[in-house]
């Protein structure tokens, strides 16, 4: 991990989504009329995004079929709402809280560190596929311990640039990843 390592493709993230699993998930989203079908699209996409870490174009097509709408419409939602990803996550997944409370306590330093040292910005994945970061524009709600990140399943708080790097290096050295939780 680091700026020096440049790889062409992401190794850790799965390049494809098992559409059978998607169909199984969608089978729970039953609807009785047009309106209900429309209302359920976002919820279904959220569940898929949460399970796989992203939603592929193919998966979006399956969703569109299930709810009787167009691929464009579904993909339009994926690119509008910030929580959705249209590319696979890396091995580790970090939510970096950049709410106002974290900001006044120094989260900008962490955002800068990610860009300068790891070469990634909001939504990006490091070249070696180890880490994906999502900068949270809202608030993780743990403001008394700002700045805070959620890395895979664990929270790390009161971070400085040094402890932030420690946390990242330890997580990467320990293997694991967001799928293992």
């Amino acid at each position: 991990l680091g700026v020096s390592q440049v790889a062409e493709t992401s190794q850790a993230g799965e390049a494809e989504i098992d559409l059978e699993v998607v169909r199984e998930m969608l089978s729970h989203f039953t609807y009785s009329d047009f309106q209900e079908a429309q209302e359920l699209i976002l919820s279904a996409l959220q569940e898929i995004n949460e399970h796989f870490g992203w939603v592929s174009l193919e998966a979006a097509k399956v969703v569109a079929d299930h709810f009787g709408t167009t691929d464009n419409r579904v993909y339009g939602l994926l690119t509008f709402y910030a929580d959705f990803r249209t590319e696979p996550r890396g091995k580790h997944f970090m939510l970096l809280c950049h709410g106002m409370s974290c900001y006044v306590m120094g989260s900008q330093n962490l955002v800068d560190e990610l860009e300068q040292r790891y070469g990634i910005t909001d939504g990006g994945t490091t070249a070696d596929g180890e880490l994906t970061v999502q900068v949270v524009n809202g608030c993780l709600g743990v403001c008394d311990k700002a700045p805070i990140v959620k890395l895979d399943a664990d929270y790390h708080h009161d971070l400085t640039v040094e402890t932030f790097n420690d946390v990242l290096q330890r997580a990467i050295a320990s293997g694991g990843g967001w799928r293992h939780h």
Partner: protein, 582 residues
């Protein structure tokens, strides 16, 4: 997320069946607190989970396993984040003692009373030994809890505990004992103003909804809460979801709506799970559905979740999002109450507003109006963030001053931090300085000096934060969150960020300050929705309150670098915010 209700719950089909169920629930509640038991309560919410609450809960359960007289309970978190992980212990013959910052390995010592150094206070009015009443602590002393009354007391996943503490009694009243007109009259008399920030009276909104001719009608609860410094609605969902659900069901009956929706931000999985559980349980019990308790009234309920777009907190955008399209606001009129969800009359209320309904219906509008100030009745949930000592979420009467909030409730600045200002109104207003701190906090008092109540979130910053950098952060937030539908907001906000960056990098001129004001004016006057119309306000506020910093940045061509290096040598603790990046 598919959440099933509690399968042991009966289906209630009549008035008397509900009364019977409520009586049994009360007996069960009292049995929990039977004097022979030791009752251990662990506050588990999104903020305490981050500090290991689940491990503490597990340790407590392990401890209780071989013992017959120890009950371990889960509640939501009561707002005192600085005390987390918080554990309450009620030993036989003693009041509940509250312990702060409990670690899993300490649980046996805490329960058996060997770690009294962590005891912060006791329940009730009397001290217990050396431990003072919790309600005398500065963090709790000023509070008046209506919405948060049962948060931290009931198990949020138990409908029985909620009912034992009075949940659905107001719904019951509206179903059987009170006419819709009377209920609306009480709401209007209460002068309950919208807690999302706009402050529109809820009673008048309900009245317009009831009078709307088109049908079916809908109720929508705005639980999106995308502000970068607010988590109050999330905490109600996590701590007392039935209070929200009851308010919405009452709104349905009173307005004559077919269905209510709750639109929750997708980022809050625990809030969503607990609320879905509440809906599933209430449905099983027969409080949602057809012919509720034999009253002949039908109400339906749906939970919908958002996807991390700030703009979806705007009324019309939220409704588009519920309808499964991009959340982009539209021009008004028609207002939502005439043409909202699925082009039908829709009453939209904020979560906190809805959570006040139960107590207003039970105690009357006059009672509610007597709390707070004349024009801003009731209480408000508030959060203050930044380098302060006792952090958390409180519910205080309207009209409390910012100084009380910051210096008493939040315990003042942490050591090594010097107060510089407090950002108000989330990303929609400007900061206030020390001289403004004695103003009462309500809907109207802060606006004259460029501040705003908004949804009750305030962020204190110390003198390591440059007003120029902070303005850049706030403007960049609005740039990112613009839905790109209308040009002034879509193009204007990036332009503002560009100009601020020029100033920060030391290439700004005096003309840039004028350009910032002119561009801001365009965005404010020409944008379609509330986001754009207030997007430049934080920037203008920062320029108005800290003109010296801006003047010096453009006249010496130093940007914020020099400003910061000067501060760094003087301040004990400082934060480097010089580099430009999102």
């Amino acid at each position: 997320m598919h959440v099933h209700g509690d399968s042991t719950l009966p289906r209630l089909t009549s008035r008397s069946a509900f009364e019977q169920f409520a009586a049994t629930a009360t007996d069960k509640w009292n049995a929990i607190w039977s004097p022979v038991n030791t009752v251990v309560t662990v506050g588990v919410g999104s903020s305490s989970i981050a500090k290991g609450a689940e491990r503490v809960l597990e340790a407590a359960a392990q401890y209780a396993l071989p013992k017959t007289n120890v009950t371990v309970r889960t509640t939501g978190v009561d707002g005192a984040d600085w005390m987390e992980v918080q554990v309450g212990v009620r030993r036989s013959g003693a009041p509940i003692v509250f312990y702060a910052n409990v670690q899993p390995e300490e649980i046996a010592d805490v329960i058996e009373g060997r770690l009294e150094s962590k005891a912060i206070g006791v329940d009730g009015d009397q001290p217990y030994g050396d431990i003072p009443p919790l309600k005398d602590h500065p963090f709790f002393k000023h509070q008046h809890r209506i919405v948060m009354k049962d948060i931290g007391i009931i198990d949020p996943e138990s409908i029985e505990e909620a009912i034992a503490r009075g949940a659905y009694s107001a719904y019951f009243k509206v179903l059987f004992e009170m006419s819709a007109e009377d209920a609306i009259a009480e709401m209007t008399a209460a002068n309950l103003r919208g807690r999302g920030g706009a402050g529109f009276p809820a009673g008048i909104k309900w009245e317009s909804g009831r009078k709307a001719r088109n049908s079916p009608k809908y109720i929508v609860c705005n639980s999106h809460e995308g502000e970068p410094n607010v988590y109050k609605d999330r905490r109600i969902h996590e701590g007392d979801p039935h209070r929200i659900l009851e308010g919405l069901l009452i709104a349905c009956v009173v307005v004559g709506a077919e269905r209510a929706y709750n639109y929750i931000g997708g980022e809050y999985p625990l809030a969503i799970r607990r609320f879905r559980k509440a809906v599933a349980d209430a449905t099983r019990l027969g409080l949602v559905g057809k012919n509720v308790l034999g009253s002949g009234k039908n109400v339906a309920f749906r939970v919908r979740t958002g996807g991390g777009a700030y703009i979806c907190g705007e009324g019309s955008a939220l409704m588009y999002s519920v309808m499964g399209v991009r959340g982009q606001p539209r021009t008004k009129p028609p207002r939502s109450v005439e043409e909202g969800l699925w082009k039908r009359p829709t009453v939209a209320n904020n979560t906190e507003t809805v959570a006040n309904v139960r107590e207003i219906v039970l105690n009357g509008g006059a009672w509610f109006a007597s709390i707070g100030t004349e024009k801003s009745a009731g209480t408000k949930m508030m959060t203050v963030q930044g380098p302060l000592k006792t952090m958390g979420l409180v519910e205080v009467p309207m009209g409390v001053t910012l100084r009380t909030l910051i210096e008493e409730i939040w315990g003042g600045m942490r050591d090594g931090h010097i107060f510089k200002g407090v950002q108000t109104g989330g990303v929609s207003a400007g900061p206030l300085k020390d001289e403004h701190l004695d103003l009462p906090v309500d809907f109207d008092s802060l606006t004259d000096v460029g501040g705003m109540l908004g949804s009750g979130g305030f962020v204190v910053f110390d003198d390591s934060v440059s007003s120029i950098d902070f303005a850049r952060y706030l403007t960049a937030f609005n740039r990112y969150e613009s839905c790109s539908k209308c040009v002034p907001c879509q193009r204007g906000n990036p332009a503002l960020v560009e100009i601020i960056d020029r100033i920060r990098l030391g290439r700004g001129t005096k003309a840039d300050l004028a350009l910032l004001r002119r561009t801001s004016k365009h965005i404010i006057e020409l944008s379609l929705c509330g986001l754009g119309q207030v997007a430049p306000m934080p920037l203008l506020g920062m320029m108005d309150q800290y003109p010296d910093e801006w003047e010096s940045a453009v006249s010496n061509n130093t940007g914020t670098t020099l400003w910061l290096s000067e501060r760094k040598t003087s301040a004990a603790a400082s934060v480097d915010t010089t580099t430009a990046a999102d």
